[in-house]
Amino acid sequence: MTETNEDTVRDEIRAWLEANWNPDYGLVEWRLKLAEAGWGVPHWPSRWYGRDLPVGLVPVVQEEFKRIGAIGVAKVGIRTLAAATILEHGTDLQKEKFLLRILTGEDIWCQLFSEPGSGSDVAGAVTRADFRGNQWVVNGQKVWTTSAHKAHWGLLLARTDWDRPKHRGLSYFIIDMKQPCVTVQPLRQMNGYASFNQVFFTDAKVEPELLVSDVGNGWAVTTTTLMHERRGADALRSWAILSEKPGRIYKEEREEIRTTMEPYKWYPQRAGRVDLILERARASGKINDPVLRQEIAKVLAMSKAAEWTARRARTAQERPQGPEGSLGKLASSIIARAAARVHTSLLGPDALLTGDDSPVNGLLAEILVSVPASSIAGGTDEIQRNIISERVLKMPRERTGDTEKPFKDVPRNTVG
């Protein structure tokens, strides 16, 4: 057997793309082909639409897709987290039912973890799932749910046992979001958008085969999802540029990106738009201000160093995403804040304005009121520092008052 290395992989994917890629395919049609050949998710197991390729070689495949202009499997949104979680913890039946439609992009997913009473402390969830008759019945409220109003499926963390300590009484479900017992309301944010929702469950139903892993093992599964979310937060800093190429598949992809990305429109602004700094500095003439030059250089340097660190971590890791992802997330939010300060200096008095009264039709103003989200969403900076110190540096864990006793006896928020 020949060794798999950068060159063999490159030759193989190049040949396959040259033989198969055609922009006149329909999006789903093409992605089915990718899933069959294993090139859409080459690092996945060969049994499930992949080729068992080491993670470190995936960029080679991506480079070849980019070179020829080929479109990949559906990657944006919660569906990636769903895929990673199901791949790791799901049953064959769940993999069979969900993975392919995740890759083709036919199903939209949402994540149902946070609640009004449990933000950083996600394991303190009080949404309940009770087994009644022959199915699970869900009651409670979730919050910060992106795309809940469009989702077909939700990744749900719910309490199934109130007599066990908090982490051990949780279970993880896949819930049908289109059933009538699920209601969704938008939540308005400080930057004016309403990208998230509140979700209410009133006797909502889950079939027993859609329990992921065992009853009581929900926290371990949730941890998998969250680790992947932290890595994803890093990736959101670079934005997919809409391809203007002609061809049926490009048109369909543009449409998909437009719908899926709609709630994420302000996410690049949340990350600080480091990419706009130099051109803004030139346009405002402040590129010659020596003090500002230093601040600009600091942000650009840190941004590059963070990008290289992420690539170094990916190359070094052949195992699933670990707590090191928290380093990247922490770096992103520090960069975002520094970038917002630089953009404020570059704007001058225009930083007082918003919307079409401010430069670039409000885009820059949007940075200033969106950046605060980057150090909160997906786990606050403080939580990331706890994870880094406890799991990477093995420092002693925080003392908590709720990990030993039955969850029903734990003091908790009465009002969300």
């Binding site: 250089a297 160093a305 170094r312 070094a316 380093l327 520092r385 880094i388 110190s389 540096l393 420092m395």
Partner: protein, 371 residues
Amino acid sequence: MKFSFSSEQEEFRSNLRRLLRDRSPAKEVRRLMETEHGYERDGWRAMNSALGLTAIRIPEAYGGYGLGFGDQCIVLEEMGRALLCAPYFATAVLAAGAVMNAGSEAEKQALLPGIAAGDTTATLAWVEHNGRWDAEGTALAATAERGEIVLNGHKSYVVDGHTADLIVVLAHAPQGLSLFTVDGSAAGLTRRVLKSMDSTRKFARLEFDHVAARPLGTAGGGAAPFDRTMVEAAVCLANEMVGGAERLREDALAYAMMRMQFGRPIASFQSMKHKQADMLLEVELAKSAAYYAAASLDDGDGDAAANAHLAKACASDAYMQTAVNAVQIHGGIGFTWDNDTHLWFKRAKSSEVFLGDAGYHRELMLQKWTA
């Protein structure tokens, strides 16, 4: 671009780390830093010839191994970690770099084998009293006298300048900026070791009074090879610095895990944990920048100079901040002479300044990116 080390490189690193742990423990660092030379010639020569450290990047044609910056930077990182007292940076980075970048075939044949074999120690003298790290501050003059080139003027902040066998000198010749070599024992050359705040890295002041010099490269053609040498030196120093920074971070963590106050290890306090998390982030970012900059040099990347400035700026901030935090985490004991933290603190401070501080390199980086 390469983002990882090969298994051979990892093995080389761990062997070197073990060896340096044995040969250069803090006790030995303290002994050598108190000597006027700052290192012991025989000990250094034995270690160098056993491992071929100065030969790494020198081409095989001149007695070296012909490896890249990626390999040399492993050596530097480990030396920075161990705070090895040796004229390695001066000899193998600055002087050898200048010779490789500027020298003619004959000059390389004459100078590099001695450096590769470890027989010759060397340095590069370019800064003067004005303290400029670029070539602009150069006033030292090279003139022809009776068919001979002679140097008149001074150099300062010359690393290991008081002990080097061979000194590469940046000077103004009638044709323009040029490089020359002089012997450390040349007549008319007065060398005085300066009182360095970091006594593990010593600097000297050199006075040139009609000192006979040999040309290195073409007369008037010194600027480009000198600039190139500075870019390489910035990358090498950044790698040396991240080695020291990581060592400080690890030692401070070990101390926090062991130190008990209020009936618990201080590492259990969230203020300590968050500080350590920030330290890890800063050191890891600086390491990535240093590694990437070394790989850029090996790849001949067009952004290599900008990346070098970025790496030096990151390393300057990260090493110094780590040192400040390390003293703080140790508390009172960290401010004592007997505790080893100050040895690395001082190296952090001296490296922050040496070759230009973070602000200087950030400015150069931005100039490259906006050119």
